[in-house]
Each structure stands twice: as C-alpha cells, then as structure tokens.
Amino acid sequence: MTAKLLDLTGIGKDRLHLAWVSSAEAQRFAQIAGEVTASIKEQGRLDARAFDLELEAALMTVNGETLRWLVSKELKITTEGDVYGRKWDTASYESIMDSVLAREYHKNLIYLAIERGNESVRKISAQTGLELKKVSYLLADLEKTNRVAFDRMEDHKPVFAVL
C-alpha cells in the first residue's frame, strides 16, 4: 500500500525496498545492501523540497483514520466477514483499499493546496496536477465533511478556505 502511495506522489515505489534476511544470512545482507544502494544510486537524489506538498499529503493520508481502519479490518473482513455478514475476498478488498487510498491522498492534496493559498478550483488544479472535474468532485466531499468551506466569489468564480 505504501508502495502504491509512493507511486501516486510521483516519488515511485522503487525507492522502497523490502527484504527478508535471517540472522544467519550475513552474506545475503551484504548483498542486499549493495543491491539497494545501487538501485537508489541509479534513481538519483530525491529532492524532498520539490515533493513537499505531495509528501505532506501522503503523511496526512497514512495518518488518517480512514486508511488505518481499512488496513486494520482487512483480516477480519476477509476471514469472518463484515457487519452485514458478507465475506470479501482479499483481491476485492485490496482493490477497494487502492481506490480509497487514491481518493484520500487526492483530497489531502487539495486540502493542503488551499491551505497554501491556491483557493480557486483552477489554482488548485494547477498546483496539484489534478483535472478540474476531479478537483470539483473531491472539493464537494471535503465540504461535506467540514474540512473546507466556500469562502467568497472572486471574479465570478468560487474561492474556498480550509476550516
């Protein structure tokens, strides 16, 4: 899931590596250290300042209730079933998690864009790279959950503020 999130931010899942090394596999550890270093070296330096908005939004997303609930309930819902008694298979559950991940991430991105002064839909779209329709759609969600509010009209266009 974190790999998918890194892909969404533009940083790329190849910067995150996972390895299983037993305490007896010293040689393998050295080998993995070499491989990971070579892989990151090839990808070059990561400029955290260039990805500042995206990283902040990613942090908000993994810290957020929605994702954390989904992750923690996965085992129960795919084995015993949900509160309605339906059993979910892992693949459909994970595909739901993926779409919620993208949605929450984009919502947080929009929230932060507004906080940093991009208050109209066009400015948000320019800052985040999301299309206008998507920004409007997710803004409605943010308004519904009282995270963002309509502030005033500027030049016949609505302008928003964070709450």
Binding site: H17, S23, I40, L46
Partner: protein, 66 residues
C-alpha cells in the same frame, strides 16, 4: 553527479535482519555504507508513517528488512 552517495534508511528487525547485519560486521564482510540503520523489535512495527517521514526528512531510499 557520479559521486552521489545516497542516504538510505534501513529498518531492521532485531532478531533477523539486524542480527544478520551484525554477523556481516563480525565476519568483516564489505558492503556499502549508505545504509542508516534503525533497529526495530519486529519489522511489523514499521508503520507507513515511518516510511513517508523518512522520505520527508531527506532520505533517498528506504529498506525494510525482517
């Protein structure tokens, strides 16, 4: 840019990967020094928050080994 040395944060689980790294050290095996190790008691402790924060704080890569 050919002498760019990446900073990689490595979350190592105490019983397996960290012990493996320790054994590599004792056996005098050579490997790149770009890994900044963080010992955790179990790789399951590693939260996505740690990983994103590592990138936020300026690491170029993250390794989780268990």
């Amino acid at each position: 840019m050919t002498d760019f040395e990446p900073k990689i944060v490595a979350f190592l689980c105490n019983w397996c990967a960290y012990a493996g790294a320790d054994l590599a050290g004792v056996s005098r095996l050579q490997y790149p020094s770009n890994l900044r190790t963080v010992r955790v008691m179990c790789s399951g402790r590693v939260d996505p928050v740690f990983i994103i924060s590592a990138f936020k704080e300026g690491s170029d890569g993250v390794l989780v080994a268990g």
